[in-house]
Each structure stands twice: as C-alpha cells, then as structure tokens.
C-alpha cells in the first residue's frame, strides 16, 4: 500500500531524518514515536502529500505526486494534530466536509451522506452531539470529530497526527477500536503516538525517530524495547513483565 524509499525529512533547511525507507501493507498499522520536534508530524504531512517530498513515496504502486488532489483525497485521509475552527458550524456540518472529495462540483450532501456522517459520529461516540456548535466541544471531543471526518473520507490509508492526544481513557479505547475495525476492512493506518505501551500492544509496526536524524523501523515487538525507548526519549525506562507482556514505565 505505502512504499517509501530514500525519503529525507527536512524543515526550514534543517535535516530531521535521513533516508527513510519502509513498506506498509494494507490492513497493517504503524505507530511513529519520537521526541517533540523529531519530525513526526512533518513525516506524516509529507506522506499525505501536503509538503513536497525529497525521495520516493508510492501509494498503491503509484507515485504520490502523480495523483490528482481530489483522487488523492479519496485515497488517504490526514488528521491534524490540532483542530482550529475560525467560523462556527455544527458538529454534523463539520463532519460532512469529509464527503467533499466524493461530491461533484455542483452536488451538495445527499441524505445518504448525512446518514453516513451520523454513522461515523456514532462510531466515535459523539452522535448525540451532532447538532452542537463545534466551538462548544472539548479538546478530546474535537479530536474525535476529526477522526469521524476522516472516516467519512472512506480512504484506503489513514494518516493520523496524535489521534489519542486530549482523549480520556474511554475515548482513547473507542478510537483504537474504530481503527482496528478499519484495519480489518483492509485499510492501512499510520499514527503519531506518544504512548509506547499502546504502540506495542495495538500497532503492528513501529518507527522510532531519533534526535540525531537516525530512525528505526520494524515490528513493534522488535523495535519497542527498554533500551531503544531510553535512547529515543533520553530518559531511563524500566520494563515490567506481566503475563509475558512488557510494560514500560519511566524511572
């Protein structure tokens, strides 16, 4: 689904990550871990085609830049780290913008689109807020709304920038369950996370982005180790064993 070769991540002339290469198959999930400012969001935006890529990014066997914008929007969804709404709108209206790439220029959202939107809102657990003003939502609820908007794009691959930030435990689990459902439908998922334990348990693969511009990619169980995490975050961690599973806690 996603093939990356020799991708350099740099922002404002500063090289953050060099020669990234990995593949992600359909129905697989990848967690990106790293310190603040390591270039996780920049990598994600590059994969989404929102910034020019220096290197090769192929989506479903075609170069990213060969896609027309609308076509690309039907293929991948990207969720920003933070949502800002300059103008007031209801939750339902905000979610419906996810149908944009599926509608013709003169078409407006049909009843089917509204039904789809209500389904997406109920999957992330905020259907009861459909008529609320988007400005009245809490940070976590706004994040769930962004996920619902991405679901409405019905893409083949999700690129999510910290989808779990601002979410309480219950909502975080809802979000992960929805992502698992999408995975079972054959969609690929790339998510920036700050939770090594969740990355280990709920994601198939992981990529660690170190401060010195190096990176490590592999199956989460192979890559997410106490030693690697210690190097990644620059803080000592301890691994606890529980029924054969590992848990990491900061010292």
């Amino acid at each position: 689904m996603l093939h990356i070769r020799d991708l350099d991540i740099n922002i404002g002339g500063c090289m953050l990550c060099r020669g990234v290469r990995f593949n992600l198959a359909a129905g697989r999930s990848l967690a990106i871990l790293g310190r603040n400012g390591a270039g996780k969001s920049t990598l994600l935006a590059t994969l989404a085609g929102l910034r020019p890529a220096s290197g090769h990014v192929d989506l479903a066997g075609r170069a990213l830049h060969a896609y027309a914008p609308r076509e690309l929007a039907r293929f991948r969804a990207w969720c920003a780290q933070q949502q800002s709404d300059a103008f007031s709108a209801t939750v339902l209206q905000t979610a419906l913008i996810g149908r944009h790439p599926h509608l013709d220029r003169w078409a407006s959202e049909s009843d089917t689109d509204v039904t789809l939107a209500m389904q997406a809102l109920s999957r992330v657990g905020i259907a009861h807020m459909a008529a609320h003003e988007v400005h009245t939502l809490s940070g976590g609820e706004r994040q769930l709304l962004a996920l619902a908007t991405a679901l409405l794009q019905s893409p083949q691959i999700y690129l999510l920038d910290e989808p779990l930030s601002h979410l309480d435990l219950n909502h975080a689990m809802t979000c992960l369950r929805v992502l698992d459902e999408e995975k079972r439908q054959g969609r690929a998922i790339v998510a920036v996370l700050h939770e090594p334990n969740l990355a280990l348990r709920r994601f198939d693969e992981a990529m660690l982005m170190f401060d010195d511009g190096t990176w490590l990619h592999g199956a989460s169980a192979d890559v997410i180790t106490a030693a690697n995490l210690q190097k990644l975050y620059g803080h000592p961690l301890r691994a606890l064993q529980d029924n054969g599973a590992q848990w990491f806690i900061p010292e």
Partner: protein, 322 residues
C-alpha cells in the same frame, strides 16, 4: 439536512424579494413622485433613478461578495475588501482625476486603474514569499496590503491639502462614497453577474478552505491556486465597486458577518445571500441618502454605517446571549 436546505432556499427567496421591493421603492421615491404604473415609462426613472439604483445594488453586492471572500481567505471574520490596498489605489486615481477636473467617467476609469495598480503592486511584492510556508505568504500579503494602503492614504491627504477649494467637496464625497457619479452602472452590474458565476462553483472548496489550508489540501482542494484566484477575484470586485461608487465602507465587512450570524458559514448559501443582502442594503441606503433631506444629498458611506452598526451590535449581543 433537507430541512435546512429548504430553509436556505427560503432565505434566498426572501432576500430576492427584498431586493425587488428595494428596487421598486428606490425607483418610485424622490423629488418627482412616480406612480407605480408609470415606473417603467417615466423618463426620470429610466434615465436618472434606474442607473443609480442598479449602480447602488451592484456596488453593494460586489463589496459584500469581496468581503465574504476575504473573510474566508484570511480565516478571520474581521476580513474586509479593503485590506489589500485596492481602495487606497482607487482613491489616489480618482482624486488625481478630480484634481485635474476630469468628467465623472474619467474619474471612475482612473479609480479602476488605480485599484489595479495597487493590486499588482501588492501581489508583486508579496509573491517573493510564495516559496515560504503558507501562513507566512498570507501575512506578507496582508502586511503589504496594509502598507500600500497607508502609503495611498498619505498621498490622499497630500492631494486633499493641495487641491483647490472648488474640487475639495467632490473629493471628500468621493472618499466617503457617493453614488451620484454612478451614471454608467451596467459594466459594474455585469461584473457582479460574472463574479457570481465565477465564485459559486467554488463555494464548497471555499468551505473546506475555511477550515485551514492543510485540511483543505488533504480534502483534495488545490489550495494555492484557489487562494490566488479568490484573492484576485475579491480585489477585482472591490476595484469595480470602488470605481463606481467611491470607497463606501462598512458594507463589505458587516454584510457577510451579519449574514453569517444568521445563516452559518456555508459559502453555498452565504455568497449568494451576500450579493443580495449587500446590494439591497446599499440600494436602500442610497434611496435614503438622496431623499432624507432632499434636495441635499447625504454621503452614502455614512448612512450605511448608521444603518448597519446598530443592526450588527444587536445581532452580536443576541449571539452572545444564546
């Protein structure tokens, strides 16, 4: 959703009705009373009032449409059609023409040329930043517009100081906004009609753009192209309006904001509503301006503010209480 679509159709229908009623009112009142039956045969109506009413409607519609576009482009409800320096350039052009005692057609032409010059200066200077990040380009565009505006403001003050007394009154009226000079409104009306046709197909793209550049881009909107196109359209609309009626303030800021409070931010309904609402507001304001203390005429720019400010404050306080 179907319900709200019906509500939207009703709003547009009501605004169209209001616009038509505004036209009938504007054509029938004045120093010569014209009966409703003679509305389309009377010379006073056809040669004096109709051009002026069409000019007022076109100016109001263009300013409100440009304002709505600027508010989306800047993602700020305080956006205004004049932020790109277009009205400053137009003022310099018009005042120069007035200074040399040229006829009103030349004044309008000079204003439009001045607006275009300001537009190209602003875009030309801000272009260097295109390679930078989007928000930087945007703030650079804004800053360039503001600086060009204030530069033009300085030239305007200079021209006002240097002008002989006989042209001073005309200049001041032009600066506040005056539709008495709108003798040839049909090109402006054509610009409005063409503008609506150019903008409406983009309405849903603009909805996406209002949520932010990257979100719009991730939804398949060609952001850079759309943004440049919409800026350009907004500037041309403003130039056309200013060349016809002078720099009439307030309509471009308040009408889109007012209608957004009432209708929400769906550009598919907001943009046509702005054209009808802005046009009708200016039409009514101009009717008042020429009848309130006839035969003396009031400057329309002052009247639009007097009508709009209380209305706007009332809507805003209602919004807060909700």
């Amino acid at each position: 959703m179907t319900v709200s679509r019906r509500a939207n159709a009703f709003v547009l229908f009501a605004l169209t009705g209001a616009a038509l009623a505004g036209f009938v009112l504007s054509l029938s009142v004045g120093s010569v009373h014209v009966a409703l039956a003679d509305l389309f045969t009377s010379d006073v109506v056809l040669q004096l009032r109709l051009p002026r009413a069409v000019g007022a409607f076109a100016c109001g519609g263009l300013l409100a449409l440009a304002g709505a576009l600027m508010q989306v482009l800047l993602r700020n409800p305080l956006g205004d059609p004049y932020v790109l320096g277009v009205s400053g350039g137009a003022s310099v052009g018009a005042l120069l023409a007035l200074l040399f005692g040229l006829s009103s057609m030349f004044v309008n032409g000079a204003a439009f040329v001045g607006a275009l010059i300001a537009l190209f200066v602003v875009f030309g200077l801000a272009r260097g930043a295109a390679a930078m990040s989007q928000s930087w380009t945007q703030s650079r565009l804004l800053l360039t517009g503001i600086v060009v505006s204030s530069g033009c403001g300085a030239i305007v003050s200079l021209l006002l100081t240097l002008a002989p007394d006989r042209s001073l009154r005309g200049m001041v009226f032009w600066l506040i906004g005056d539709l008495a000079q709108a003798t040839q409104p049909w090109p402006t009306f054509g610009l409005l009609a063409g503008g609506v046709l150019c903008v409406l197909p983009l309405a849903r793209d603009l909805n996406a753009l209002a949520r932010g550049d990257w979100i719009a881009a991730s939804l398949g909107v060609p952001v850079e192209r759309l943004r440049l196109y919409a800026y350009f359209l907004a500037a041309v609309f403003t130039g056309g309006a200013v060349a016809t009626g002078g720099s009439i303030g307030f309509v471009g800021l308040i009408v889109p904001h007012l209608l957004r409070l009432a209708l929400g931010n769906d550009q598919r309904i907001l943009l046509p509503a702005c054209v009808l609402g802005g046009g009708t507001l200016l039409l009514l304001a101009d009717t008042l301006a020429r009848t309130l203390i006839a035969p003396q005429q009031l400057p329309i720019g002052a009247l639009t503010a007097l009508i709009g400010v209380p209305l706007f404050l009332w809507l805003l306080s209602r919004e807060e209480n909700r």
